[in-house]
Amino acid sequence: MSEAATTRRWAVLRRETGRALGAAIIALAVAFLIILFSSKTPLQAFATLTTAPITKVRTVGLWIDDVAKLTVAGLAYSLVFQARQFALGVQGQVYVGALAASYIALSPLGQTWCAIPLGIVCAMAGGALWGFLPGIAKARLGANEIVSSLMLNYVAIELANYLIRVDLTTPNSRLLSTAPFPSTAVFPALIPNTRIDIGLIFALTSVVAVWFALYRTSWGLKLRLVGHNSRFAQYAGIKEAFIIVSAMAASGALGGLLGAMFVEGRSFGKLAVSFEGNLAFEGLLIAIVARNRPLAVPVAALFYGYLRQGAQLMSIRTDVPSEIIVIVTAVIILLVASSYSVKPRAMLAAITRSSRPARTHVEAVK
């Protein structure tokens, strides 16, 4: 690689990191203001938010467990976003994957060694199916993938609720969860007495697998070319429909894997109603902050997972509800997705600049 290209790459990396950190700082400032106005003990609350996760081995475990899940969710979005498909169906895929894994775990097979591998394979297949459906509707008919994937989320959630209540429940769980899985169907711990289990290995493997698929295979290059310019892809003889469907199915498989990681992971070990706690949608933030780059996804997940865990602990120990983290998420997405720069002066200029029409599109290409 020429030196100029290398330097440029580093410059881009620095700029993107700067933007992400800037956004995080602004979002934390917003959070602080909200805490200041809503809490009786604002300083204690803010301190809990920002420092609690690293105070105990147990909380570090919770944090890393979240990071593993956020990473997989972020990868699932990154994969479809790189093909420029706005499929937002990860949540539904998580539920379908979780259902599939639960059926394996609670079947006689769940008592054997193959519970985990088979559970994961079935979960990924279920998730892939849930990603395939909006994919095929988009590729064959042009049906808007945003709407169809969102609808399928609701269908999957209701399906899970129904099956948990009717088919999988145990008498004393008040219809809200299944019986605990047999130990053969629960992920072994990586570090004893923490929540860190082999889900982390799956997450890191997925990072490498997605990176490899996108940047080292011809499928990945085709996928990225479709994402960059679909007219060009058609003209170049790339089968766009196949790429769209396979990208959405592959992303669905990751969503399904995440479902298995939830229910077979040490933090649950069973299937419960509303188990994913909106984490699937937070994967959107991870993908956006990481600019859909698989290798940047775990880094973004590490930072965001920390905040997320801090917020959980804050809501337990102080009077501030954990939902504040969701507000932080929204602010970060807004800032990172927009063309703001970290320079405060430019921000101010953008805010105060008088209304001016954008450049016309005529002759934009010249």
């Binding site: 295979t217 960059h228 060009f232 003209y235 170049a236 005529v362």
Partner: protein, 519 residues
């Protein structure tokens, strides 16, 4: 009306403009336009004409310099300000809403109202009156997407006049027109000037400039080189000022006698609205010849090329390469048979700007074992391929991993050409190879096309520029309403006027004449 010591109607003094990224588009540019004249601005692509016009129309703001209207300093912060000052602009790419009717497009943004209601009847009346007054005939009720290009342009001009434009800026208005439509446009321009309007005419076709303008400003490399009265100008003199060196646009042609490579037999095509756009078209292209497709835009040539490239389904008939039907084959398989294609819209169809140059250079050959084995990319081979092509086509670039978006327009075009010609094709499809390309690059592209032909490729060339077709083609087919209405062997007797008459359906060949040139 204007005398020597009166201030010019519109004057730009010392205009400079640097785009973010450091491209100096205008460097101390001066221009003075007098009332009631047709003032031509000529220069190669990238000479800064378009930027200057955008500044005059308020789309862009100059970094330094000033604009004066009848001697008084003005500032146009937006097109609205320029429009209010009586300036109208017709862009090269029309800004019309396709599904809206002509009158809706004309009044858009300055609609007549009664109360809060849009007064349609009044709008139609006003448009009719305006079009009669300036002899710019259009049917106000027709949706513009159904209008031919020449009429769409009239809609654009009427749009500017409707807003009370005294000064009309026409950006390369003849680029998309047939010779006959150009004649009509010129008579409309004369009518405008006769009724007190002033026209700024941007062009790079010199004969047209000499015909219509009264004064000419020449630009080169972002600077104004000079201003001359048209009566003192000659084509050669202008060309020298434009490029700063002597240019001759001629191509050497060897005789050919190859086998039939491409055979199109009784082909019918339909568009998205299920209307027939190509009807019973038959033609052949032999190895080692260039067949030119002439026709007004929208008469089926573009669709024919798309169908051959595999981007459009076929309603009837057959297309064969080397005697074998390619209809069952997809784009990739056709490319495997030795087809290459340089699309009209090279940047938006021929490139993925967000991908690297090396990736762009292999995009059409991703199933070639050279670059991908077992689904895995051979990055080393991709890089070597890129380096070879960068060298061979002298693409100016940081390195193979630079994003295509970081290249200049001319180098982007070269990337497309380099990819398509990286292996000698059997069949090359080319659309508008030099539209929007400067004289220097035009010569480069013409030379490459001729070399490819001489090396044995069958070349099918579609172009709106008739002089380009006459310079390059061995044979020419004229399209009119989806049919081939005339076919010629290229010779010195063949003129743009003869082609133009066939393109408009004014003259037709006898079947015998056509058959002689079709084979």
């Amino acid at each position: 009306m204007t005398t020597e010591n009166m201030a010019p109607l519109l004057q730009a003094i010392g205009i400079s403009k640097t785009y973010p990224g450091g491209v100096v588009a205008n460097d101390n540019v001066n221009i003075a336009v007098n009332a009631g004249e047709v003032h031509a601005v000529v220069g190669e692509n990238g000479a800064g004409k378009s930027t200057l016009m955008k500044i005059l129309f308020g789309v862009e703001q100059a970094d330094s310099g000033e604009l004066r209207l009848v001697g008084e300093q003005v500032r146009f912060g937006s097109p609205r300000a320029a429009i209010n000052a009586g300036i109208g602009m017709v862009f090269q790419h029309f800004s019309l809403v396709p599904s809206f009717s002509a009158y809706e497009n004309i009044v858009l943004g300055s609609e007549p109202r009664s109360g809060i209601r849009f007064d349609r009847r009044k709008a139609i009346e006003e448009v009719r009156a305006l079009s009669a007054r300036f002899r710019l005939h259009v049917d106000p009720l027709q949706p513009v997407r159904q209008l031919p290009v020449g009429q769409q342009q009239r809609v654009e001009i009427l749009k500017a006049l409707y807003r009370g434009g005294r000064i009309l800026i026409l950006d390369e208005p003849t680029a998309v027109l047939t010779p006959q439509e150009v004649t009509e446009l010129f008579s409309a321009i004369r009518a405008l000037v006769a009724q007190g309007r002033t026209v700024i005419f941007i062009a790079h076709k010199l004969p047209e400039v000499l015909e219509i303008s009264s004064r000419i400003t020449v630009m080169r490399g972002g600077k104004t080189i000079g201003e001359i009265e048209t009566k003192d100008a000659t084509e050669q003199k202008l060309a020298n000022m434009m490029v700063g060196r002597e240019v001759t646009l001629r191509v050497e042609r060897k005789p050919y006698n190859g086998k039939v490579t491409l055979a199109v037999n009784r082909l019918s095509l339909m568009n998205e609205l299920r209307a027939t756009v190509c009807d019973d078209v038959s033609l052949t292209v032999r190895s080692g010849e260039i067949v030119g497709l002439a026709g007004v835009a929208g008469n089926g040539q573009a669709e024919l090329i798309e169908a051959i490239a595999g981007l459009r389904s076929v309603a009837g008939g057959d297309i064969a390469i080397g005697g074998e039907s390619i209809l069952p084959l997809g784009v990739r398989a056709r490319r495997g048979k030795g087809m290459a294609s340089i699309p009209e819209d090279r940047i938006s169809q021929g490139l993925a700007l967000g991908a690297s140059v090396a990736e762009n250079l292999v995009a059409t050959r991703l199933d070639d074992r050279l670059f991908a084995r077992g689904g895995l990319l051979d990055l080393g081979e991709m890089r070597a391929n890129a380096e070879r092509l960068i060298e061979r086509f002298s693409i100016r670039i940081d390195g193979p991993n630079a994003l295509a978006a970081t290249l200049s327009g001319g180098n982007m075009q070269k990337v497309v050409v380099a990819r398509e010609l990286s292996e000698q094709p059997r069949l090359l499809l080319v659309s508008q190879p030099t539209r929007g390309v400067d004289l220097g690059s035009t010569q480069f592209i013409w030379r490459i096309l001729t070399e490819t032909r001489n090396a044995g490729a069958a070349v099918l060339l579609s172009s709106a520029d008739l002089s380009e077709l006459l310079a390059l083609s061995d044979r020419l087919m004229v399209f009119y309403r989806g049919r081939i209405v005339a076919a010629f062997r290229n010779s010195d007797e063949l003129t743009t006027e003869m082609l133009g008459a066939c393109m408009l359906g004014l003259s037709r060949q006898s079947p015998e004449e056509m058959r002689a040139a079709l084979a």
